[in-house]
């Protein structure tokens, strides 16, 4: 049976450890190489793996251990030259050199009787004799072999040995030259870092990097495969699967253990269930974190408790001291200990330091325990909505929403097709790469895609050259010529297959065109070229109109829409786009007429109800606008699935609201509108939209006074709405930042650590 232990990877088999190993292969090889060099030559390496709890230290250590055993079995003479002792996390109470030698012998004794006897011999001696003879006995057991010492939590071991024990150990290592060490620690600690310490500079510190989202996905996939959950492994390749991992990433950072735990919950259920899954995971983690806190002295527990109470906002020593009824010196001392043992971390705030819990999940768990789980739920809810939104760039949304060739239905059809798995797999990767705008990955996926298309050598070479030159626009054209130039070539395929292939390629080509410079001009040129041969193509006129509208060429856009509607007047989305363009020209009455036409054809088109409401709002017809919004909410509510684009729709409204929110009676109307959001359970989406539009407050065209008034509006009217709290928190910091951009660092510290990078991303700032 497969055992995947998130807390004790040393219990897992070598094969299982290998199967779920990601990211650190070069490092594992290097560590193994260092040990083998130490065993076979007089050189001795001392490596120290540094990473917070759950970062995969023990996994790596265990993996190196098993590989070393395998190398010993495969390489003649190697096993005879080494003795491996593994001091595991559970080794406690090592107070001096004698204790350490005994533990080493006991560990060696698991594999060899001589060491076992030596350990017994030591135990039976009077303590002073044992202390005096420990080194000699260890050397006798080693018999010229190199001791490979694997130590988990070297910080604790050194803490127990104290300086005297460390000095004896260093003497032993230097004088005997017969030992190599691979150790772990959650953080660098004074006994190896201070110049006055015996082990200064002795160990080479290797800081383990957290998993990136891609690596986390890879690991969860590997775990799924190991558990035989192939459907889950496939699901992780989808946009929803990745978004789910990305949402967790905002909370877990690169902590491997969290993904191991989360892999149990990240099933192929709807994204809406993420919150429950996450809360379940926190519940499972609770005893672990609670145990960690319980093991601390009471003053330190009090400090942790205090930091949890402040919901992640880093606090200064004097605040902590006051809040915990401690002297400042005492609080400082306890914080130093908590810092060294990785419970808290310090962040600089000017010349002062502030302290916060190091692990976000520890804080969230403890918050939930203190019956503040509602806040955690709201934040996870926010991530559920915001992450996919941030993941999917606006241009792709438009592409998906607008192009006739690329409706969601088409895309789903293409994605679900099982006809050509390689092609489909490439396409999925391509979509991910396009979303990430990762040109290197786009290159790789396209290269793979081309390699699988059974093209003539000449064609392949043409495409490859364009690909290498990153000439995406020309590449798209050439692909279109090759693959779609003549539909009569599709005789061998069923009509459905050929439609899927055509749509897929169209998607690729459109994606490429959007990557290239001047994308809308190219779309227009494409359409013009198509229209030269066939003027009666409403789809091309519509695409052309949309691109013109995007470029601000509204009059021309309307002409194009009109041409499309002459050909096919039953296209509601063209009427909608026409309405949007007219309202951009300030021709509101005509815009409303266009919206009405669209709604007459398709009354369930919620986005048009929203467009109509916004136009009426801009015209100052607030009561009528509210009526349209009521329609919008009703139609929206009737949708089977909650459409992903609702946040963007709300954002558009915020965009028109900001210049008008002080006009009477807008604030009062807003109360009624928000009541509709509440009634229709759309406050989480409003929360995300308000957050995502904070960047609109930053330009100079919005005065500090207006920004402050915007904050006051939401604070005064909606501060008791728990589901808007995230947005209000971000808004407060953003408005303060607008007034004093030089104080960014200080202002960001009003937020818990997991929220700081989110605000960076929303405001388009470099990392905090």
């Amino acid at each position: 049976m497969t055992l995947i232990s998130a807390f004790t990877p040393s219990l897992m088999s070598a094969a299982e450890l290998e199967q779920i190993f990601v990211q650190r292969e070069p490092l594992a090889q290097q560590l193994l190489d260092d040990i083998i060099t130490s065993v076979t030559t007089p050189a001795k390496h001392f490596n120290l793996l540094i990473g917070a709890r759950g970062m995969g230290k023990t996994h790596l250590l265990a993996l190196v251990y098993y590989r070393l055993l395998a190398a010993g079995a495969d390489t003649e003479g190697l096993a005879d030259k080494m003795a491996i002792a593994w001091l595991r996390e559970e080794e406690r109470g090592v107070a001096d050199w004698l204790d350490l030698v005994f533990r080493i012998l006991r560990s060696l004794g698991e594999a060899e009787s001589t060491a076992q006897l030596a350990a017994q011999q030591l135990q039976q001696m009077p303590v002073p004799d044992a202390r005096s003879r420990a080194t000699a006995i260890l050397l006798e057991v080693l018999q010229g072999r190199t001791l490979v010492l694997l130590v988990e939590n070297l910080d604790k071991l050194f803490g127990g040995l104290k300086k005297t024990g460390q000095q004896v150990l260093r003497s032993f290592l230097q004088e005997q030259g017969c030992c190599t060490i691979l150790a772990t620690t959650p953080a660098i600690f004074p006994a190896v870092q201070e110049r006055s310490a015996p082990f200064f500079g002795f160990f080479y510190p290797i800081h383990l990097l957290g998993l990136t989202v891609a690596e986390a996905v890879e690991m969860v996939q590997k775990i799924a495969t190991l558990r035989g959950q192939e459907d889950l492994a496939r699901f992780l390749l989808t946009e929803d699967g990745r978004s789910r991992v990305r949402a967790v990433h905002h909370l877990a950072g690169g902590n491997a253990r969290i993904y191991m735990l989360f892999s149990q919950f990240i099933t192929k259920v709807e994204m809406d269930e993420l919150v429950q899954s996450f809360m379940k995971m926190l519940d499972d983690l609770m005893p672990y974190y609670q145990g960690l806190v319980d093991s601390l002295p009471s003053q330190q527990q009090k400090i942790i408790d205090f930091l949890v109470d402040y919901e992640g906002r880093p606090m200064m020593v004097k605040e902590i001291a006051q809040g915990c009824f401690l002297e400042a010196g005492t609080a400082g001392g306890q914080l130093r200990y908590l810092r060294e043992s990785c419970y808290v971390q310090a962040v600089a705030d000017g010349r002062e330091s502030r302290y916060e819990l190091r692990e976000v999940l520890m804080r969230l768990c403890l918050q939930v325990k203190k019956e503040r789980g509602r806040w955690v739920e709201i934040f996870v809810q926010f991530l559920r909505i915001w992450v996919p939104l941030a993941d999917r760039p606006a241009w792709l949304q438009e592409l998906l929403g607008k192009s006739k060739l690329l409706t969601d239905e088409y895309l789903k059809l293409a994605l679900n097709s099982q006809e050509d798995p390689v092609f489909m797999s490439c396409q999925r990767d391509l979509m991910a790469a396009l979303q990430a705008k990762n040109s290197q990955e786009i290159q790789e996926v396209l290269a793979e895609l081309l390699a699988n298309q059974q093209l003539a050598t000449k064609e392949h070479s043409d495409l490859q050259k364009l690909l290498n030159a990153q000439e995406y626009s020309r590449l798209g054209q050439r692909m279109q010529e090759i693959f779609m130039g003549d539909s009569s070539d599709d005789q061998g395929q069923s009509s459905e297959q050929s439609e899927v292939a055509a749509k897929t390629l169209s998607f690729v080509i459109r994606g490429l065109s959007h990557l290239s410079k001047g994308k809308y001009e190219e779309v227009i040129a494409d359409c013009d070229k198509a229209l030269e041969t066939n003027q009666n193509n409403d789809r091309e006129w519509h695409e052309r109109g949309f691109a013109l509208s995007k470029l601000g060429r509204y009059e021309e856009a309307i002409n194009s829409f009109d041409k499309a509607l002459e050909i096919n007047p039953r296209q509601d989305h063209i009427w909608h786009d026409r309405g949007f363009t007219l309202s951009n020209l300030g021709r509101y009455e005509e815009a409303i007429t266009s919206c009405n036409k669209a709604l007459k054809i398709n009354p369930s088109r919620y986005i048009t109800w929203h467009r109509k409401a916004m136009t009426q709002f801009v015209m100052g017809n607030y009561e009528i606008a509210l009526e349209s919004w009521r329609e919008f909410f009703q139609v929206f509510q009737a949708q089977d699935n909650r459409p992903y684009d609702v946040v963007r729709i709300i954002q558009r409204f915020i965009d028109v609201l900001i210049p008008r929110f002080t006009i009477e009676p807008v604030p009062a109307m807003l109360d009624r509108l928000i009541a509709l959001y509440r009634e229709h359970h759309l406050l989480p989406e409003l929360n995300a939209a308000l957050t995502n539009t904070l960047g609109l407050l930053l330009p100079d065209t919005i005065s500090d006074t207006t920004a402050t008034a915007w904050l006051d509006l939401w604070h005064s009217r909606f501060s008791n709405e728990p589901e808007l709290q995230i947005a209000l928190q971000f808004m407060e910091v953003t408005v303060a930042y607008k007034k004093q951009p030089s104080r960014r660092h200080h202002l960001w510290l009003r937020l818990p650590q997991e929220q700081r990078p989110i605000l960076d991303r929303i405001l388009g700032l470099a990392d905090f």
Binding site: P26, L27, Q30, D34, T37, S38, T41, P42, A43, K44, H45, F46, P128, D129, S132, R133, A136, T164, Q167, V168, R170, S171, L173, Q174, E175, G177, T180, I188, Q193, E194, R195, S196, P198, F200, G201, F202, F203, Y204, P205, I206
Partner: protein, 383 residues
Amino acid sequence: MKVNPGGLLAPEDVVGRDPLIDRLWQGLESHGWNMTAERRMGKTSILRKMQAAPPDHMVVFCFNVEAIGSPQELVLKIFRELQQVLSLSTAWRQRLTRWTSNWGGGKMLGLELPKPEWSWKQNLEEMIRDFTAQLASVERLVLFLDELPIAIDNLRQKDPAVAMEVLNTLRSLRQECPQLRMIYTGSIGLHHVLRELQAVGYRNAPKNDLVNVEVEPFTEQDAVLLARNLLMGARVVTTDSLESIIQEIVTQVDRMPFYIHNVVAGLREMNRPILVRDVGNLIRTKTRATDAWEFKHYEERLKNYYGDRQPVALKALDNLMVEPLRVKELWQRILLEVSTVSEENIRDILRLLEQDHYIQMNEANQYEFRFQLIRQYWQSQRG
């Protein structure tokens, strides 16, 4: 060559030290050495290399004595090491059979001294006298006492008189036994410990028969050789020319082998082709962002060891951080801030700072920071 920052090097991998090692061997014909160096400068590697290939007429014993808590432990340690080395060296064992039989015949010792009825001092004296008496006049018994200042300081903290007696005994043994040589090594200067002992009445000069020698950074040529070998051994791929990257490393870390190993290991971890600017970025991260090499120690050491001299020592370094200065120039500048300081005070403090490797005198008789790495740190923290 394999990169190994902080670890024990194989003797053949200890490069760039042969001229110093030759000088040490030559010196040992006539005198002992007091070898000093900053931490991680490579003292232990030098000792290990010497121990691995001594001249035929020298029998060498190497002790790391930093964990010594009493003179008895020191004697036991020396005794065991003599026994062990002799058991491994057939030639010396055969030469010294009388000593072996006089001193226990190779039996495993418990807690007691080899001759329990004698004091530690008598044991040590007799053991060494007996050993050297069996050597030919041209032969040498060489004891490397690594980290002796730490051991003496440990003893001093328990009982200064015992620390004094150990120093005196070692000194008198060297005088008494013409074939005995010692090399004291230590990263904290013995002068600091002696000053503490002098403060409680110690008047002897227990190392005045030893010649001071300092382990310097590598020569440019050796540093370049080491950096090249390590980069090639680590298979580091470079975008900028290999030579330019080597030069950058060597310059930025003042040709110190420990840091060369560390920088190459850091570049290897990047897992991508390396640019010249990566070297500077890596070092900046290690010195400024994380202080991974704990240069703040240089600030704190002034607090711990310089007593009331600390404020002026700080001012001196703050000024030298900007530019090299002659003594008088420096004194004039410090006078602007501390009016009571005399030129002699300044000279005294500069001597101390020089002994502690902060500064050195250049060819123009100006004092300057000894290491760029420390100067850079000083600038980032106090500039």
